[in-house]
């Protein structure tokens, strides 16, 4: 169980335990495909999900791949950072077909381009023409005020009591 981490470290990658059933691996963007491939061959067959963190001050997106090994009862969290401006990364759909759906979602909400993913059509949002909404520089309040005409003092002619006891 401990040797999987040693093996990863031997590949010149940063890896550490988060608790006794899960560990994280920090991978440079260029090696993400080979590392995921390697982990898959080391029983991490289950692809649990892909998410993204917007580190706006650093100017980076962090992609987080969550894998699971049923044989070892372990979870691997593989993280990689890509630039925030015109973000591009290769698609992992050759390793897990399921990745395609998650990448489609990340494409819609963060605007990340996944090279090799044939299916980056709109997903949840209807007729979306603005900046992808989960980027931190997207002003959701201004959007809501503009499109849905949100007004903070809207009371519908009913004045609520100052405080409800």
């Amino acid at each position: 169980m401990a040797d999987i981490l040693d093996e990863i470290r031997a590949m010149d990658l940063k890896a550490s335990w988060l608790n006794d059933w899960e560990f994280e691996v920090i991978v440079p963007k260029e090696r993400i495909g080979s590392v995921l491939d390697y982990l898959k061959s080391r029983t991490f067959k289950g692809f649990m999900g892909l998410s993204c963190v917007d580190w706006i001050d650093e100017g980076k997106f962090e992609l987080v791949y969550i894998l699971q090994s049923y044989d070892l009862s372990l979870e691997a969290i593989v993280k990689t950072k890509i630039p925030r401006h015109r973000p591009v990364i290769e698609s992992m759909n050759a390793i897990w077909k399921l990745c395609e759906v998650y990448e489609r979602e990340m494409h819609e909400f963060f605007g990340i381009e996944f090279v090799g993913n044939p299916n980056l059509r709109p997903f949840f949002l209807e007729n979306w023409l603005d900046t992808p909404p989960l980027r931190k520089d997207f002003d959701t309040l201004a959007f809501s005020e503009e499109l849905f005409e949100f007004k903070e003092d809207e009371t519908h002619g009913i004045n609520p009591p100052e405080r409800i006891e």
């Binding site: 603005d130 809501s144 499109l147 949100f150």
Partner: protein, 181 residues
């Protein structure tokens, strides 16, 4: 009002079939309302499976742009007379999703709402209260939201199109950050 409409309204108020559009979290209050604990069938109200046979459309909470479109389809499929209940603060002013990029504020800009039920989420008692109130309004010939929709169709349609048929970005400041090249 002629005697005939008075009689019709009286009976209408006593048997209303309800279509519940359960996309909001408040939908969880409906099973107890429908089943033996609070038993809304006492008031002649019963769940209905299709919009064409329903009289009441109950919107249980937040509507995203995508679901708003479906709600409008559903509403327009219903045969008049029809009534809309807006359930929960999300239908009133966006509730906790007031600054969301995807949840509408005020439902009555898009379809006419006869009664709003405040609360996040309202208790079954509040739902029953609104049913009783709706029944009174129907029997007195006051709940005329569907007529309002027909008379002010341009206004409703313009509001719907503003949200659903956008042709340019809503915010001025768009960065071309995503596309390569």
């Amino acid at each position: 009002m002629s005697e005939w409409t008075e009689i019709v309204d009286y009976f209408r108020g006593r048997s209303m079939w309800m279509l519940h559009y359960c996309t909001g979290c408040g939908a969880i209050e409906l099973p107890p309302t429908m089943t033996s604990r609070w038993d809304m069938e006492r008031f002649g109200i019963t769940p209905m499976a299709t919009p064409r046979q329903a009289d009441i459309l109950l919107i249980t909470g937040y509507l995203a742009i995508k679901t708003l479109k479906r709600v409008i389809y559903t509403y327009e499929q219903m045969q008049p007379p029809k009534w809309v209940l807006g359930f929960g603060s999300c239908t009133i002013n966006g509730g906790i999703y007031w600054d969301s990029y995807n949840v509408i504020e005020r439902l009555d800009k898009y379809i006419p709402v006869d009664i709003y039920i405040a609360g996040c989420m309202p208790r079954p008692e509040a739902i029953l209260d609104s049913f009783v109130k709706l029944k009174e309004m129907v029997q007195n010939g006051e709940a005329k939201g569907y007529e309002k929709y027909v008379k002010n169709y341009e206004w409703y349609k313009a509001n719907q199109d503003k949200v659903l048929k956008r042709t340019k970005p809503v915010l001025e400041r768009i960065e071309k950050v995503t596309k390569i090249g």
